[in-house]
């Protein structure tokens, strides 16, 4: 038994891959649901209903999808250039922290600047923080050849410990009764709600607009060509005159900035302050989303909504039947593995001999 490269890549198979992967995922996860002693059909029905079954379900799913789109884009952009940024989680947290540093209340008042100035400053600060955290692995990779998978992954722990230090120290909210929680964001900087009486906020529009922008960037610009060329074949790109190292660094900064922005958008759109549990692994889920989307920025939006729906749906399902919400994590993880297998099968065929 071995894999043989297909002579011709069929576009339809590559498009079908995520759907096949999702079907396979649901089939595999069904075994775990059954193992937990719950009726499979009803469990899935509840997950679907909780994620997509009502106006409220949709609003919650879209709220959850907003940071996921941004971290998904962070991963997709980097992976396109074959830069494996596993550090979106840490970048999200330092972005959130930077947003509070600029737009938060310190000692009762914040910077007394008009919101029209402070709002963009807050977003830029968050992007700069995420980008800066990503700059370290990028330079280590391009200058010294250090594997960025290791450095970005480990930087997550450093970033989280740093955030923890700040939340227990200089940025601690004195009103939080001892909880490690940052000071609150100024009210004027909070993102407007998109739909009344729900939590969906204008951050979703930022995320979708960025997805479209990045899609155009990759398709129509010289920078997009450089990033794709470096990702597809760095040696050939260098031979043709693409500045490979500079491209990798710029892609790294862009990726870090997107993850940092996810942090700011979460703070300004949902939480209002930074806590150590504000992200249930959005940075890591972004990787799954990017893979499900085939690294296509527009696909990221769809994949993020799917993953968000599963996460939200699982929460409401666990109240109905006795299956822990961890099933959502299982589904998302299995989806990543299925997607990798499905893409492999789109590119290779299995031969039994």
């Amino acid at each position: 038994m071995r894999l043989e490269a297909r002579a011709e890549l069929s576009r339809s198979m590559l498009v079908a891959a995520p759907f096949v992967a999702i079907a396979a995922t649901l089939a595999i996860a069904a075994a775990f649901v059954a193992w937990a002693g719950a009726p499979v059909g009803r469990t899935y029905a509840l997950i679907f209903d909780g994620g997509f079954g009502s106006r409220f379900a949709w609003s919650e799913t879209l709220t959850r999808a907003t940071p996921l789109i941004l971290t998904g884009l962070a991963a997709a952009v980097a992976f396109r250039a074959r830069l494996y940024n596993i550090g979106a989680e840490g970048q999200l947290y330092v972005g959130a922290l930077a947003a509070i540093a600029v737009g938060g209340l310190h000692g009762g008042t914040g910077f007394e600047l008009p919101a029209a100035v402070l709002h963009p400053a807050m977003l830029v600060a968050a992007m700069a923080a995420g980008a800066l955290l990503m700059l370290v692995p990028a330079l280590l990779k391009t200058r010294l050849g250090v594997d960025e998978v290791v450095t970005t992954l480990l930087l997550n722990f450093i970033a989280l410990l740093f955030v923890s230090m700040m939340l227990d120290g200089p940025m601690k909210d004195p009103m939080a009764m001892g909880w490690p929680q940052s000071v609150a964001l100024q009210d004027t900087l909070e993102l407007a709600k998109l739909i009344e009486r729900t939590r969906v906020h204008t951050g979703l529009l930022y995320a979708i607009a960025l997805a479209v922008l990045l899609w155009g960037l990759f398709r129509y610009t010289t920078f997009g060509f450089e990033a794709r060329a470096v990702g597809a074949n760095a040696r050939a790109a260098a031979f043709a005159g693409v500045p490979v190292q500079r491209t990798v660094v710029v892609v790294a900064l862009l990726s870090g900035a997107l993850a940092g922005l996810a942090g700011a958008i979460e703070v300004a759109g949902r939480t209002g302050y930074v806590t150590l549990d504000m992200s249930p692994g959005y940075g890591y889920s972004g990787i799954v989303i990017a893979m499900l989307a085939g690294l296509n920025p527009l696909g990221v939006v769809a994949a993020a909504i799917f993953v968000a729906g599963i996460l939200v749906g699982a929460d409401s399902m666990s109240r109905g039947v006795a299956v822990p919400t961890y099933i959502a994590d299982v589904i998302v993880s299995v989806a990543l593995l299925s997607m990798l297998v499905a893409t492999a099968f789109a590119r290779y065929r299995l031969r039994w001999n």
């Binding site: 597809a232 050939a236 031979f239 005159g241 693409v242």
Partner: protein, 508 residues
């Protein structure tokens, strides 16, 4: 000549729509050298891969020594006495010769390795077939010719009675090839059979008893070597009379590129060379003697550690874009890994060397003019494939090379023939191409040269060098002999220089 030791009947193998082997029937007799001749892609490698069990045929049977051979089982092929020497050696460089030969011959469950017995057996085998080796030498320290000898011994150690050699001379100097031919004579004298795969007519005529010619997956002829002539074989192989490329009279112009005392640590030592407009200078040498570093320096990929490189009098930075901008057309050695970006479409590969200027403005790629350029390029250089939107990896080797060559020779000019590169650096431009594509590439180089480009041809193919070059320099262990006019060289002299026998550059 006795009864056949190996009998292949009706072997057919398809890869998708491609029929790699079409009902091939072939016998191999005991004590003969059978040459398997054919262009690249004719199906030679597929056929022996089926014989050795790497592939399973879609139809057909194989008999070895009267017994049917189970398909798709290399272990069974080895047990039946079939040994294979691959073109790319399968040796562990950090192990000794003895270790390499023993590797895989002993069961993993065996508690203690029988090294002493194996050593005796190796020495006995080596003596019987006249293949001298030092059992304890590290394979990494051996020359290419010696490594090949180890590969052959590895097969003989396993009691091979039929030895398959896949393009064995591709990596050898002429002298090493001679010594290989002597070895082969020795083997068949002992009753072994040899299948010798090649596309070089001269050596096939020299070494073989019988010649089987493959073309487009079919067996087109099997004939005794004494009845075959070079022209006849070439026609059988290509299927039409060959159009010979004709060298045009060269106009030697000014020096356009000059290397002075160029050194690259561990690869090049004090290399000096001046290239003039309108001439082809060839660098001959066995692979791995510094050609890669020389090409990298001349493609703007790396800066020399010593010495300088000047193009039209200006010292060049190691920056591919600067070299492209200065009018250097570059054809890399490895077209798949360096020449094209396989996942990107043909049109993006076509503009890859000029994607900023003129094929973009304000950071946006000008898609319409880029695609129009790619279409013209594909037409002018006859790049056949699934169109400019197909990924470049889908092109065959020859068409890929035409794309790379066309891109380099056209620059960003609107019309292909408006542009004359100052310098063309072609590293192994015809490696692995079929005769038709080889002729095309040669003609393009000659034409460009006639229009006034200086051409540096780095090649391991001496036929190609003798056919094209005005001047020849030989590289060995990172040192380059002076480039002397081609007529002052003889084949043995090139061979000696390739082997490093000429230490002083002025000896002849």
């Amino acid at each position: 000549m006795t009864s056949p030791v190996l009998r292949m009947t009706g072997i057919t193998k398809r890869f998708g729509a491609l029929v790699a082997n079409d009902a091939i029937t072939l016998d191999v007799n005991g004590g003969e050298v059978l040459a398997l001749l054919g262009e690249n892609g004719a199906g030679k490698s597929t056929l022996v891969s089926i014989l050795f069990g790497h592939y399973v045929a879609d139809a057909g049977t194989i008999e070895a020594f009267g017994q049917p051979l189970p398909p798709g089982d290399p272990a069974a092929a080895l047990a039946a006495g079939i040994g294979m020497v691959h073109q790319h050696f399968t040796l562990a460089e950090n192990l000794s010769v003895l270790d390499n030969i023993m590797l895989g011959t002993e069961s993993l469950w065996r508690p203690i390795s029988a090294r002493r017995a194996a050593r005796a057996r190796l020495q006995d085998t080596a003596q019987r077939f006249g293949l001298a080796v030092a059992p304890d030498a590290r394979v990494g320290d051996l020359s290419v010719g010696e490594r090949q000898r180890v590969e052959i011994l590895k097969a003989l150690f396993r009691d091979a009675r039929v030895l398959i050699l896949d393009e064995p001379t591709a990596v050898l100097t002429p002298q090493e090839s001679e010594s290989l031919f002597a070895t082969l004579k020795h083997l068949v004298a002992q009753g072994l059979s040899v299948i010798f795969i090649s596309h070089k007519l001269d050596e096939v005529l020299r070494v073989s008893d019988r010649i089987a010619v493959l073309r487009g997956g079919r067996m087109v002829a099997t004939l005794p070597a004494r009845d075959a002539g070079k022209n006849k074989l070439a026609e059988l192989m290509v299927g039409r009379p060959l159009a010979r490329t004709l060298a045009k009279p060269h106009l030697r112009g000014d020096v356009v590129c000059e290397l002075r005392g160029v050194g690259v640590t561990g690869a090049l030592h004090d290399v000096s060379l001046a290239l003039r407009a309108g001439e082809i200078v060839a660098v001959a040498g066995v692979s791995g003697n510094g050609q890669a570093a020389l090409a990298d320096v001349l493609c703007g990929l790396r800066a020399p550690d010593a010495g300088s490189v000047a193009l039209e009098g200006i010292t060049m930075r190691a920056e591919p874009r600067a070299w492209i901008g200065a009018g250097v057309a570059r054809v890399p050695e490895d077209r798949h890994a360096v020449g094209v970006i396989g996942d990107l479409p043909v049109w993006e590969n076509a503009i890859a060397e000029h994607y900023r200027k003129p094929f973009a403005s304000a950071g946006l790629v000008r898609r319409a003019s880029s695609r129009a350029y790619a279409r013209r390029l594909v037409e002018r250089y006859d790049v056949r494939g699934a169109g400019i939107d197909a990924p470049a990896r889908s092109l065959s080797g020859g068409n890929m090379q035409k794309l790379i060559l066309g891109r380099a020779l056209t620059g960003a000019a609107a019309r292909a023939d408006d542009y004359v590169p100052v310098l063309i650096v072609a590293n192994q431009p015809t490696w692995g191409l079929d005769i038709g594509a080889v002729g095309y590439v040669h003609q393009q180089l000659l034409d460009a040269c006639a229009r006034g480009s200086a051409v540096l041809l780095i090649s391991e193919d001496l036929d190609e060098i003798l056919q094209l070059a005005d001047r020849i320099a030989v590289i060995h262990a990172g040192r380059l002999t002076p480039a002397r006019p081609a007529r002052e060289w003889t084949l043995p002299a090139i061979g000696l220089a390739m082997a490093g026998a000429i230490e002083s550059p002025h000896a002849a």
